[in-house]
């Protein structure tokens, strides 16, 4: 009797020890055995795409096409979530086997490229279809010290989404063709609907810096300029100040959005029916109309027009968001990865991305795919007149420090004058961009 008990206890102890040793033993084995075989034998390549960037159909088609050239090799596409993605990227690039191909938001590229995470693709540029027609702003985001570190993948730009019925009721028959007309139209809408305390003619959350930049650029200002290798914040220039002052005027009269809020919920808010205009990406219409998030009944009432310039008849330059495809410097499958990227960035699949996914493709030559879609073509057109944030590896730190949102909030809440707020922001931008990394 005592013997059996004793052995049972011993067994538990032994099991516990075995578990630990087992865990340790696992640690010695495994690893990246299949990748160290390098060029010989079948290889597996990993692709990280962001969730929602490419329709599964397109990804499958790219994989199938790639497989034709590499019948023995395998491609594994892993969709990653946006939240905390930089934490995950930091860890993955630091590790021994990062994904071979990675989709990066275009404002993140320079940070990772400067740290040596991405393979130099300059020599391969000629092999990419449309490489001379790549959208200017996307190419800029992929260029680091004159070298090409990624391939433009897809673009996103903003225009104004508005309610046709509200415009009609307010007696606005012509779409605003200049900033002045935008202001006038907004005031008219406020006069018509303003008694509704929730109503905003031009809904503009205070921290929405992507949508504020067009006003700066349109007036001839910029975020920062580079001379002699040094960056200088220029938001305090007279031009930039004039742009922000014009925006403030618009916000003052016609927006009841949170002056300290961000744009994360603007589509759901728009769907509530108390807003006439928002500055939005093309895909945001989908959110507004989604029965799970918004109101499908608005379908017929939505349309878009480009953010007008102060010069009548022209449009304001917009911030071009989007993603690029990079190849990890540590990748042991450079050739496979390059072939895959070339496919997805090429004419065939970019066209599919545009038609199936409704995104803005990476080249000017492909911008007419939505020509017969009156809604999407508005967004495609704005991509032609677009700008980008300073391509400094430290730009991500400017974003992390909330410099632009802080400035906008100070301006809109009138805690600081436009002059003071822009002065402070410029100083911080200069410091941050020039900081040794």
């Amino acid at each position: 009797m005592s013997k059996s008990r004793r052995s049972r206890l011993t067994a538990i102890l032994a099991l516990a020890v075995a578990l630990v040793l087992g865990v340790a033993a696992c640690g010695d084995s495994g690893g990246d055995g299949d990748q160290s075989t390098a060029q010989s034998g079948p290889r597996t390549m990993t692709i990280w795409l962001m969730e929602g960037s490419a329709p599964p159909k397109v990804v499958d088609a790219v994989n199938a096409e790639w497989k034709k050239a590499h019948p023995n090799d395998t491609v594994k596409v892993e969709l990653q979530q946006w939240n905390n993605i930089t934490t995950k990227l930091d860890a993955a690039f630091a590790g021994s086997s990062p994904p071979d191909v990675v989709e990066l938001g275009n404002t993140l590229v320079s940070k990772y490229a400067a740290a040596g995470a991405l393979q130099d693709l300059t020599g391969s540029r000629g092999e990419f279809e449309n490489n001379q027609a790549w959208l200017q702003s996307l190419t800029e985001s992929c260029t680091m010290d004159g070298k090409l570190v990624c391939a433009p993948y897809l673009a996103g730009s903003r225009a104004v989404i508005y309610r046709k019925s509200m415009f009609a009721k307010a007696g606005i028959t012509e779409l605003p063709a200049s900033l002045e007309e935008l202001q006038a139209a907004s005031e008219k809408l406020m006069a018509t609907f303003g008694s509704d305390k929730r109503f905003s003619a031009f809904y503009f959350p205070g921290k929405y810096w992507y949508a504020a930049l067009p006003f700066v650029w349109d007036h001839g200002g910029d975020i920062a300029v580079q001379d002699g290798g040094q960056w200088r914040g220029t938001l305090d220039s007279a031009e930039a100040q004039a742009g922000l002052t014009a925006l403030k005027q618009l916000v003052d009269c016609c927006s009841r959005a949170d002056k300290q809020g961000d744009e994360l919920k603007q589509d759901q808010t728009f769907a509530q029916g108390h807003i006439a205009m928002i500055v939005a990406n093309g895909w945001e219409k989908g959110v507004i109309l989604d029965p799970k998030e918004g109101n499908p009944k608005l379908e017929k009432d939505l349309a878009a027009f480009p953010l007008p310039s102060r010069t009548s008849g022209q449009t304001a330059p917009v911030f071009l968001g989007g993603s690029d495809l990079g190849i990890a410097a540590k990748s042991k499958n450079q050739d496979l990865a390059l072939d895959w990227v070339k496919l997805l960035a090429g004419t065939n699949f970019q066209t599919q991305m545009a038609t199936v996914g409704g995104v803005i493709p990476n080249s000017t030559t492909l911008l007419d795919v939505h020509a017969d879609d009156p809604y999407l073509s508005v967004f495609d057109a704005t991509a032609k007149n677009s700008r980008f944030t300073p391509t400094s590896p430290n730009w991500a730190n400017v974003e992390a420090a909330n410099i632009l949102p802080d400035m906008l909030v100070s301006i809109f809440t009138e805690r600081a004058s436009v002059a003071d707020a822009t002065k402070e922001a410029s100083t911080r931008i200069t410091e941050t961009l020039n900081a040794g990394s």
């Binding site: 865990v23 495994g30 594994k76 630091a94 799970k292």
Partner: protein, 276 residues
């Protein structure tokens, strides 16, 4: 008599207040899971999900790899709980019933380890598991969870075992039990609530984790439910109906687990602490 009734009424009022505060967010979660898009973020709060929809649940369950995620989460939780209980119990036995050199250091270490912020360790842990080829493996996150569960578990269980009068064991042994027998018949039943309390703590920690699983796992077929729940937030914003429907589903196993162990838990949580 009236005074007593008044006090009783006072207690009940307070209880209702407590219930309101604890349950309102839960009610909001469950109700939102059944709401239609326009009713979710609405200027006038919608107290009832009428007219309702099951669309959110359909979308939550219809996410790719949902069943796989469930399987992974269950596997990870069970493995972590079982292994941590076994290891912690042995360690706690040593810390509670034996004198040995380094015991004080051990106790201090168990506290200090809990003070290190998890976020600061995530990259070093990733790099170490990477070196061992254990990233993107469930085994990798299980051992990682173990290290966060073990210090608390050992600590709690130690308090428990200390709390059980040795005389009980001695009495059993006088009655002819061996030490192992005494252990099994006397000690184990008394420690059971402690094991339950520890299991609950581990369950919550592991079931709810997002960051460790997110950074360590990359394959779509190896994700856990924590990641599934986060997938309702994309760069296109958060799908609130889906999040709430998903969270409701997500919370059910935890509540069931609680209800199953609740009676033992209550006695468990304290006994561990009483003898510090």
């Amino acid at each position: 008599m009236t005074r007593k009734r008044l006090t009783r009424a006072g207690y009940n009022t307070a209880a209702v207040l407590v219930l309101l505060v604890t349950l309102f967010p839960i009610y909001w979660m469950v109700a939102t899971g059944f709401k239609r898009g326009v009713d979710i973020l609405s200027f006038e709060p919608r107290w009832l999900p009428i007219p309702g929809t099951l669309e959110n649940y359909r979308s939550a369950i219809g996410k790719p790899h949902f069943l796989q995620d469930v399987r992974n989460s269950v596997l990870v939780v069970i493995a972590t709980i079982v292994i941590s209980l076994a290891l912690a119990f042995l360690a706690a036995l040593a810390a509670a019933r034996f004198r040995f050199r380094g015991r004080a250091a051990l106790v201090v270490m168990l506290i200090v380890v809990q003070m290190v912020p998890l976020e600061a360790l995530i990259i070093p842990i990733y790099l170490m598991l990477d070196r061992a080829g254990q990233t993107d493996r469930l085994a990798g996150i299980i051992v990682t969870y173990l290290t966060f569960v073990l210090p608390f578990a050992i600590w709690t269980l130690r308090g428990f075992i200390v709390n059980i009068p040795e005389e009980l064991e001695e009495a059993a042994m006088v009655d002819g039990c061996t030490r192992a027998g005494a252990f099994r018949r006397i000690l184990f039943p008394l420690v059971a609530p402690g094991l339950v309390a520890t299991a609950v703590f581990s369950f919550i920690l592991v079931w709810n984790d997002y960051l460790i699983a997110y950074v360590l796992l990359r394959s779509p077929e190896k994700q856990t439910l924590g990641i599934w729940l986060a997938s309702f937030t994309t760069n296109h914003g958060t799908e609130w109906g889906g999040v709430m429907a998903g969270s409701t589903l997500f919370a059910i196993p935890a509540v069931v687990f609680f209800l199953l162990v609740q009676r033992r838990l209550v006695s468990g949580l304290t006994a561990g602490a009483v003898k510090g």
